[in-house]
Amino acid sequence: MSTFGFDSRWLSKFAFLVRLDLVLVVVFGVLFYLQMLQKPDLLKALLPEQVYSFSFSAFFEPDDGEINIHTYIPVNNAHQLRLHEETSNQLAWEINKDSTGRKVHWSGDNQATNVQYTVYVATQTDQYNIDEQLMIPDRYDESLESYLQESPVIQVNHPEIVTLWNSIKPANTHNTVAVLKTIYDYTYRQLESAPFKGTTDALTALRLGIASCNGKSRLFVALARLNNLPARLVGGVILDENTKRTSHQWVEVFIEDHWVPFGPTNGYFASLPAHYLRLYQGDQALIRHTSNINFDFQFDIKADIVPPAYYQDLTNIAVSETNLSVLLSDLGLSAKTISIILLLPACALLITFLRNVIGCKTFGIFMPMLIAAACLFSGLSKGLLSFLVLLSLAWLVHLILDKMRLLKTARLAIVVTCITVFFLLGLWLFDGKLKSEFGMLSVFPVVIIAFIAERIHQITSEQNWKECILTGIGTLVTVCLCYLTMNSVLLQGVFSLIPETYLLVFAAQIYIGRWSGLRISELFRFKSLLQGNSNQVLGINGRNRDYVYLQNEKKWLLLATDKLATKQSLARHQVPVPKTIAIFKNYSDLSRAGDILSRQNSMVLKPNAGSQGKGILVIRQRLDSIFLNAGGKRWSTDQLTQHIKEIINGTFSQNGEADTAYLEPVIQQHAQLQDIADFGLSDIRIIVSKGQPLCAMLRIPTKESSGKANLHQGAIGVAIDISTGITSGAQYKSRSVQVHPDTNAPLLDIQIPYWPQIVAMASRCYDAIPLGYLGVDICLDRTSGPLVLEVNGRPGLEIQNVRQRGFHEEFLTLRTSRHETATKAPAIVEGVASYA
């Protein structure tokens, strides 16, 4: 075995895979370099764009006759670009354009009560530099005449306005800049601003000395026209993220073939900022509508940063022709969907890193990514909140359904149905108030939640709250990080414009996949072992990659999960196993169940494909026709038969499919172990590598573990010297102990009975089930002696903590000195033979 942890057979067959990750990095480097040579400004193109979503919504009550609503909508020009627009269809609509702007006109006589127009715009700041020497022309083209005229609200020649101008005019009244600066200074600095909602004409603005934007603009226009400068009002909306009902007006002055903007309200001289959306020009009404329809309206504005490549038209730089965002956009996908697609690999890499390097546990490996994708539409906080609410509901449903003992598939289907109904109920109740988008991907969490809830239910029913919380936190963190990744405009831009970056992602994934080091969480888990040589400690990565994947073939792993088949195989190889009293495979076998049961005074009824002890029924004694279980509950024969039926139906099976029930006698624990703890069955776990027992521990239940020999649930682990069978150290909840916390029985220096036989049995298990990395669980029956309960193809690593020593290098040492093992084996085998 090389230090990189792979077999030489692989090396010969797939030599080029030796450092595929490096190869990919090199390829990326080359491609990127070539692209940079061609497009040196490529990196500049990574700057994200600010775009706005602008929505106009009108609400009204249906009228007897036709309803008409007009409003101005954005045009495309140098300042703003319409990226995408849509209009609602509650009323018939059409879009027209005239000299004042572009308008949408809704009309109809149906019972519609609202209409909406939404546009996605990109804007830019316009700044004009006017030549200081420019003089005001005497004449203009006929087309500009109207912009020099007086009107009822722009009283150009009113004596008071003329008087005002005479009092403020500059020395040179023919210089364009001087005149405009004077007008601007007066209207911006000397006229106070006021939140007037109605129209203010120029004269009123002057007389009051205070005006809103339309008053200031009109006065500005009046003064400009007075000085023979064609000027016009311009109207639009200021794009700040908000829901509002206010519009804005400013001015444009015709100077040398340009209509130059001026904002006397907020102080813009010859410039128009990017967050101004221009809708119309001239002294127009922004909205017109039929009267007496209780009309109301609002604007909704949202700002967004999008990757630069998303809107090809925006980029002034000639970038790579390969633009994945545009490619996907052409397919009609929304920006959010595109970002999900582009960044899924990055999220997958992130999850890989979190799991394999940090050791972050989640509910479902890639489910957090899907949840994050759903949150992209609804917003992170809203998404997470709804996720948690639905998850809680799903868990409650699981809790209720558990009592009904339904089959797994049906159970999950019911949960999915409940969540969906609840989801729809929520939409109905909060109709219109929820301003969230629900894209396609929002639906997936409904399914995801069902699975996650089942997992949580499983964990909580074992009362493993710590694991539940840790896994929950891990899931939450992963979701948030995936959300941030999917929201990253930088990454979106990178993957759009530099798709060879995916090679880097591949390379990273391969590198992490090959890495068999300790996870960060394992640094804490095995912290007491790391003070010495940390390379001794085997982590999950190392276990899976270097042992399980290499040494445990799939077919034997599958066999190990079939308890009955395992028993049969072990029995064939003279490995003692608990006797099987009866097997019930299908309903036809139930006919003899009553007869068999009636002949038993005590028994254990087990599902073959069960896990975590679910479905196991231990009957301790019989009183006439009534059986009493370990908890003292009474069972009739019929009830036991019914239980068998449920096992057959698959109620307790891991995969929810039909199962086999079987009967075993109750194991009467060896007195020595019974003395230590009499409220559960202790067992001995031996790790066997290619038939060679490596290390062993005794697992003793406690009251806290509810009588189960499960270290994660609070059982005690006692290290056993593999060669002598004497207990040497005990760990209880990461602490060293010397006595049992419940019985005060001593735990150390105990000679395990039948030790040589136990070791031989463990070794022979490899013959029966040739898993190169194997965990054998053995119990001690007072009559039958040691019996193999089950074998495990992926035994846990906690034994290292129990031994207070890692066994990684022992594996390596073992492999290099197999000849020594071979000489020892016969002695052990003989011991077994004599026992048998």
Binding site: L47, T123, Q124, K197, G198, S247, N266, A285, R288, G517
Partner: protein
């Protein structure tokens, strides 16, 4: 073979973790940086317009009505014979036909224009019941209810009209609501509605005026009210109403100088109509009167009489202004008699009654009948127009009665009102000075000077306080400064001369008095000059000065007595006795003259001043 040293697993894990974290942080920082320098970065405005979107009503709407049509609605409540009620209450209530609604609306308009207000109200109510969103029907209904003194109903109708109306009409509706509350004397609510109305109709001068009035009546501070009146005036400079109302407000809050400026600045507008002209002149008279400019007041009163000569006005008014004329002519008894004629006829005119009582009190004040002044003032019912002038007169009366404590209390109370406080502060300063409350006096005077730093009376008072409570030498310097600043102000020169005289700087004092009499030989100045000349032993000059004085006023007892003493001083016994005799003729009890005669007769040398 030597095994290569392996890096401990723990360090490998940490190294990988650190690498991953650094990569993540780099991406995060780059992202943040990029967002900051995003190509289309925007700036945030400090202010933003709050204006509503101007809406225009589609031409398909047929129920609009013009402002003039609305304004033309007047009403009485008798039912018209010629208007058919069938269409209004008829049997077509089932179908909400647009044409029918339009027809109903026209009927309501017609009924209203013809004066059948209740009928119009009923029809509008029917329209709004059938079509709640009918803006004009709701507005017109509200208007008519208001005119019918059913403001409570009007308010609820107008509230609904506001909710269904567009921007163009909201201003009007709010103004109507304000008017309702004004009628019910709920001025705070009225002010708020007017304020909101202005937001929709900033160019509506009438609303600005009513807003100012409601603020005034709600006790808002002087500056705020005034600025709103100014806006109303600015929007309609040729309209006399806001100008006159502003002037009346200034009169009420004791800003007499401001009132005068308001009236004189706008005399073109105020002469536009006869009614306006009359009110303008009336207010002008008051303005001059309150500032003590009797001559100007008299002249203005003459103009008023000329202007109203050919007009028919109420007898009360005629009598009142006659009484005013007598007052200005110092014929107080006659003025009182005229005013007393008015007593029974002013019950329905509280303003007139209050003005009459106020003038009566002023007459009594001039004739030193202070008890009667207080009695008359206390009998006047509370009236916003005159309240503060009455309080001021009350305070002045107490001061004249030397009940300075009471006077000061009145002034302090007045000072807390939302009025123009400069004059009140000045009066309070004088009163506090009388009570030797120098700090308080100084504080009040500072307040007055802060409002009117150019007011010579205030500045003079400051100098007098300096003289009284501070340093005489400083006071003299102040007088000098004031005299330089206002060389033609006789009061300043007079006070300065008095101060010099008190400081025993007789020569300087005499020089000032000579300066005064050269410009205008007023009695008091001549008398003071003669006094100084006498004390300096310059009897000849004193005699000359006194002779000039007595030529103006031969009945001046003190001057004649001083003349007698001056002759005595020149040892002209005959002339001395002669003058002393004349004194006794004017005042038989004049002890000084008697003594002078007896001393002269016995031993002329023994007389002393």
């Amino acid at each position: 073979m030597h095994k290569p040293k392996q890096v401990p697993q723990a360090w490998q894990s940490i190294a990988l973790l650190v690498t991953g974290l650094m990569l993540a942080i780099s991406i995060f920082l780059a992202e943040s940086k990029l967002q900051q320098i995003s190509k289309h970065a925007t700036t945030i405005d400090v202010t933003e317009s709050q204006d509503e979107v101007p809406e225009a009503i589609d031409l398909t709407a047929t129920n609009s009505t013009s402002e003039s049509q609305l304004a033309a609605m007047e009403g009485n409540s008798s039912l018209p014979a010629q208007i058919s009620l069938y269409g209004a209450f008829g049997s077509r209530a089932d179908a909400i036909d647009k044409a029918w609604i339009s027809s109903l609306f026209q009927q309501a308009m017609t009924a209203s224009q013809q004066g059948y207000r209740h009928t119009a109200i009923a029809i509008y109510q029917q329209i709004t019941a059938l079509k709640p969103n009918h803006q004009m029907a709701a507005i017109n209904l509200g208007l008519l209810l208001k005119k019918d003194n059913r403001c409570k109903e009007a308010v609820s109708v107008l509230d609904h009209a506001f909710s269904i109306s567009g921007v163009a009409r909201k201003g009007k509706i709010l103004a109507l609501l304000g008017a309702c509350y004004m009628e019910h004397k709920q001025y705070a609510e009225a002010a708020e509605y007017f304020r909101r109305s202005i937001e929709y109709r900033p160019s509506h001068a009438l609303t600005w005026r009513r807003y100012a009035e409601s603020l005034w009546r709600n006790g808002k501070d002087y500056g705020t009210v005034l600025s709103h009146f100014d806006k109303a005036i600015a929007l309609s400079p040729s309209n006399p109403k806001p100008i006159l109302l502003k002037a009346r407000y200034q009169l009420c809050v004791l800003d007499f100088a401001g009132m005068l400026a308001t009236l004189t600045d706008a005399d073109n507008a105020l002469n536009a109509t006869k009614k306006a002209q009359r009110e303008y002149l009336e207010l002008l008279v008051w303005s001059y009167l309150e500032q003590g400019k009797r001559n100007a007041a008299t002249k203005t009163l003459q103009k008023l009489f000329s202007a109203t000569k050919n007009e028919t006005q109420s007898r009360s008014k005629t009598v009142f202004w006659q009484a005013m004329k007598h007052y200005l002519d110092n014929k107080y008894q006659r003025s009182i008699r005229e005013l007393q004629k008015l007593e029974p006829s002013l019950k329905n005119s509280p303003l007139m009654a209050a003005e009459k009582a106020y003038l009566l009190a002023k007459n009594y004040f001039q004739t030193r009948k202070y008890t009667k002044v207080l009695h008359v003032l206390s009998a006047i019912q509370s009236n916003t127009i005159l309240d503060h002038r009455m309080e001021l007169l009350t305070a002045k009366t107490y001061a004249s009665m030397t009940e300075h404590q009471q006077a000061l209390a009145e002034l302090q109370e007045l000072f807390r009102q939302p009025i123009y406080t400069a004059d009140v502060a000045y009066q309070a300063a004088l009163t506090a000075a009388e009570l030797e409350l120098d700090k308080q006096a100084g504080g009040y005077l500072q307040h007055a000077l802060a409002s009117q730093p150019e007011n010579t009376d205030y500045q003079l008072a400051g100098t007098k306080f300096e003289q009284r409570f501070g340093s005489l030498s400083k006071a003299l310097l102040s007088y000098q400064t004031l005299a330089k600043q206002y060389p033609n102000n006789r009061k300043i020169l007079r006070h300065w001369a008095k101060a010099l005289s008190d400081a025993h700087l007789a020569d300087d004092a005499m020089e000032l008095y000579q300066q005064l009499v050269e410009v205008n030989p007023e009695e008091q100045d001549l008398y003071e000059l003669a006094g100084i000349q006498y004390l300096q032993g310059n009897y000849t000059s004193a005699i000359q000065t006194l002779t000039s004085l007595l030529e103006q006023n031969s009945g001046h007892i003190s001057a004649r007595f001083l003349l007698a003493r001056s002759w005595c001083g020149l040892r002209n016994q005959n002339r001395c006795q002669q003058e002393a005799q004349r004194v006794l003729k004017l005042d038989q009890q004049h002890s000084g003259a008697r003594q002078l005669l007896s001393v002269e007769q016995s031993n002329p040398e023994q007389f002393t001043m």
